[in-house]
């Protein structure tokens, strides 16, 4: 397997508003994601996870270090990556199908083809029949499905997911996790998944990168050696608890201060 996505020595500092104090958000972050791999980044809030994924998407520049996709340096957003945003961030004046075709429109894919591709992914996320609904008519979980379809329709090599289920209630979140695994198995994308929930990270991932906070950096990478396909009942499995305990202790060990500060 070859490396699909690589972060090399990423550092990011910014000046805090009003105080003129430099704050280091990310310090020497190194991470490799293999082709077709599902890798989660987990860490306390304020550890720079969202900043990191924005960097990978090319939305913000880093102070030093580089992001490589297939060995090529990333400087701005590109069609090889697509982001699933934290809050669904759908365009409220567009119907479901027109939200899904949005990215294709930006790339000037013609209307008919865009609609056909969109319908395929709307079906994949289980929203057939809702194409002409507006976002405010959908539940939070359905909005996130649209958010996911909007990214998948771009046929990116890498799917970036920034805490996509954080705003959902516990039941919806779990069923979305299962759905995501089903969709991922169909599409075989490389996924970089950001979350603050340890169980979510373990359930979904091949590997989990544990981030340390202030400054954010990779503390440890944990291989999740559990066979697929995975069912939600896995969360009752002793092996699952073992990973959960281990990652929990990694996040909390020696970083009590950061946790409090966060």
């Amino acid at each position: 397997m070859n490396v699909k996505l690589e972060a090399k020595g990423i550092c990011l500092q910014y000046v805090r508003p009003r105080t003129n104090i430099y704050q280091t958000v990310l310090e020497d972050v190194n991470l490799k994601v293999m082709e077709g791999e599902f890798l989660s980044v987990v860490g306390p809030s304020g550890c720079g996870k969202t900043t990191f994924v924005s960097l990978v998407d090319g939305l913000i520049p880093s102070n030093s270090g580089e992001i490589l996709v297939d060995g090529k340096v990333v400087t701005k957003p590109g069609p090889d990556r697509a982001m699933v945003f934290q809050d669904a961030s759908l365009l409220p004046w567009r119907s479901v199908i027109r939200n899904v075709t949005y990215g294709l429109e930006c790339h000037k894919v013609n209307g008919k083809e865009a609609r056909e591709r969109a319908m395929h992914f709307i079906e994949m996320v289980g929203l057939t029949g809702y194409e002409n609904h507006y976002p405010h008519e959908l539940s939070g979980g359905m909005q996130q499905r649209v958010n996911l379809a909007r990214a998948l329709v771009m046929d990116p090599k890498i799917l970036l997911m920034d805490e996509p289920f954080a705003a959902l209630d516990a039941q919806t979140r779990e069923s979305m996790q299962e759905e995501l695994l089903r969709i991922w198995a169909q599409s075989k994308k490389t996924v970089l998944f950001i979350t603050h929930q340890i169980d979510e990270a373990i359930f979904l991932s091949d590997r989990v990168a544990v981030f340390r906070a202030r400054p954010g950096r990779v503390k440890e990478i944990v291989d999740i050696d559990i066979e697929r396909p995975r069912k939600l009942s896995l969360k009752r499995d002793p092996r699952f608890h073992h990973y959960e305990d281990y990652i929990w202790s990694q996040i909390h060990h020696g970083s009590g201060q950061q946790i409090e500060a966060a």
């Binding site: 939305l59 701005k76 957003p77 945003f85 961030s89 365009l91 990215g103 429109e105 930006c106 405010h136």
Partner: protein
């Protein structure tokens, strides 16, 4: 949309003919509104013809009751206003005033829209332009714009051009301000989404900023219409020989109260029509908003 509608109750409830109370409750708003309009017109008519004074003179005495008769030279009366309107329509005088005011209204507000909205969008979008223009706009917005009327008369005389200019100067600023606010309030998350999907500056403007601004522009237009009508009337007081504002002004100074009311009624009707127009446009663009906000 149909999904969100409340389901119809069982049909049987509607098979029985509704009681008068149900009919009343269904149309309560319309019934009360109509009733109060009729009541006000009747009281107005009664005061100006002196019928209240006649009825109540046995009770209050002639001296007291005479206070309930207000001569038509002060308040005219509904029938006199209707008669005067008919008379002015027949002679063509009314059309002359209406068309004169209408033309300057349309020209003035068109200029205001064509200048004001793009200006507001531009200062919202281009930071440097905003820094350069903000001091002037804030000062201009804080000034009652009628103070510029003498200057405009000095520059352009007292013709149609002056009136159009007056209307444009009072109307464009709420349009500019609302367009500017619209760009400012565009959701940064949506702009991030747009950027992530590799949209160009122009695409971001077209796909995110413009749709965001429509409700703001419509409320700006609503304000603008009010301003434009003030502009019409004020402009015609200073610089006109016809027009509804001119009619009101000249009739007022010669105690032709009936004609003053005809003018007022025309302006009010015109305002109502335009507001209804804006409301219907607003409804068309509101279908994507939650019903609470669409109201």
């Amino acid at each position: 949309m149909s999904r969100t509608k409340v389901m119809n109750p069982p049909v049987s409830r509607f098979e029985a003919s509704p009681s008068p109370l149900q009919v009343y409750l269904r149309f309560e708003q319309g019934i009360l509104g109509t009733f109060s309009i009729i009541a006000v017109l009747l009281i107005w008519q009664g005061l100006s013809t002196g019928v209240f004074a006649d009825w109540l003179s046995p009770l209050l005495g002639d001296q007291g009751a005479s206070k309930l008769w207000i001569k038509p030279i002060f308040i005219s009366s509904p029938t006199r206003v209707v008669a005067k309107t008919g008379e002015m329509m027949a002679s063509g005088e009314l059309w002359e005033h209406l068309s004169s005011s209408g033309i300057s209204f349309i020209l003035g507000s068109t200029i205001a829209i064509v200048v004001g909205i793009p200006l507001g969008l531009a200062i919202g979008w281009y930071r440097k332009l905003r820094y350069a223009l903000e001091p002037f706009l804030l000062a201009y917005n804080a000034t009652p714009q009628v103070v510029f009327i003498p200057l405009m008369i000095i520059w352009t005389g007292t013709g149609m051009a002056t009136r159009v200019l007056i209307i444009a100067t009072v109307t464009f600023i709420p349009l500019t301000m609302s367009a500017w606010t619209a760009v400012k309030t565009a959701d940064p998350r949506l702009l991030k989404v747009a950027k992530s999907f590799c949209s160009s500056d122009y695409q971001r403007f077209r796909d995110i900023i413009l749709p965001t601004s429509i409700p703001f522009l419509l409320s700006g237009l609503r304000l603008g219409i009010g301003r434009a009508m003030v502009g019409v009337v004020v402009g015609e007081i200073y610089a006109a020989t016809s027009g509804v504002g001119y009619l009101i002004n000249v009739s007022g100074s010669s105690f032709q109260t009936d004609s003053v009311f005809v003018g007022i009624a025309m302006i009010a009707l015109f305002g109502l029509l335009l507001t209804a127009l804006i409301n219907s446009i607003e409804k068309r663009y509101a279908k994507w908003r939650p019903s609470g906000a669409a109201k």
